[in-house]
């Protein structure tokens, strides 16, 4: 009977701690405002990731709405879910290696929304009567993604040294 990674590395407490923290930050990051657009005449609006998904869907940008939905919500959640499964469930080594590799290639796309906010903030300047500023939600979200990249790197190294 093969052992799970968690059983073999019972002292690696950082993996479950960082993993759970990443889940909390990720869920918070979906609903906290990530960017604030101020129009000097019409006041200002704050957008969260969830709001930009629903907003773009309502305004007919279906493809972009789906891109953000998959890259910022489905992918990172699936990645953490798969990592938890790999960590807790005993499985043959090659299945584990394949799963981890797959998780790694998709991981970076979760950073998309951070780049979108960065591009908006740089491009929009006060002199054009429109101002964009990053809000704390983007830090929470980016921290969740960076943290889950570190967790998957840790799980990968532990799986290889086993």
């Amino acid at each position: 009977m093969p052992k799970s990674l968690q059983q073999v590395n019972s002292k690696a407490w950082d993996v479950p701690v960082m993993g759970s923290l990443a889940i909390v930050l990720l869920i918070a990051g979906w609903f906290l405002p990530t960017v604030k657009l101020s129009k000097f005449i019409f006041g200002s609006d704050e957008y969260s990731i969830w709001q930009s998904v629903t907003g773009m869907w309502q305004s007919g940008d279906y493809i972009l709405s789906l891109i953000i939905f998959f890259f910022s919500m489905i992918f990172p959640a699936a990645k953490l879910g798969v990592l938890g499964w790999v960590w807790l469930r005993p499985m043959p080594e090659d299945t584990r290696d394949k799963t981890l590799k797959w998780v790694e290639t998709l991981g970076k796309w979760s950073m998309l929304d951070v780049f979108v906010v960065a591009v908006m903030v740089v491009l929009v300047k006060a002199k054009a009567l429109l101002d964009a500023a990053p809000m704390y939600g983007i830090y929470v979200f980016a921290a969740a993604i960076v943290l889950s990249m570190i967790v998957s790197w840790r799980v990968n190294t532990l799986a290889k040294t086993e």
């Binding site: 657009l37 129009k39 930009s52 773009m56 305004s59 940008d61 972009l64 891109i67 953000i68 790694e104 290639t105 991981g107 970076k108 796309w109 950073m111 998309l112 929304d113 951070v114 780049f115 979108v116 906010v117 960065a118 591009v119 908006m120 903030v121 740089v122 491009l123 929009v124 300047k125 002199k127 054009a128 009567l129 429109l130 990053p134 983007i138 830090y139 980016a142 960076v146 990249m149």
Partner: protein
Amino acid sequence: MHGAHIRGRGWGRNRLCAALALAALICYPLGVTLPVLKLERMGFVNEASIWAGSIEMLSQGQWFVGLIVLVCSVVIPVLKLAGLFVLASRPRMIGRHHQSRMYRWIEIAGRWGMIDVLLVALLVAAVKLGDLVEVHAGPGVAAFATCVLLSLLASAVFDPHAIWETRDE
């Protein structure tokens, strides 16, 4: 002619990889320093390039986001392309032990290099802002997109086994 024969199939692939990586490295400075998006609103025009944009974020005090953009879309991709170029064209310049270490680093860099993500982000940001202002593509977009494509192809074509094969000649 004979030399090419001995070196085998992997070497042909790695020559192609080196050429692609070099072409990407040549496109890269253009794609990063030329403006990629141009915004117009009520007569005001604002252009931004990737390099100037990430420096601006840092100078505004946006350390976290600015560093992510700078490291993942400028520093790592350039290092990765340079490493790929050296490994694919001049593997003998570095010792055998360093070759495998370098390859591992390139693999890790691939996960954190995000120029392809940035390209999609440019599109999403342009459409999002498009409701409020006029957004146009700048001259840098073509160079940047070419660089993304070349760099994806270079990593796809690269054959790591060929590096070790050359040792047995």
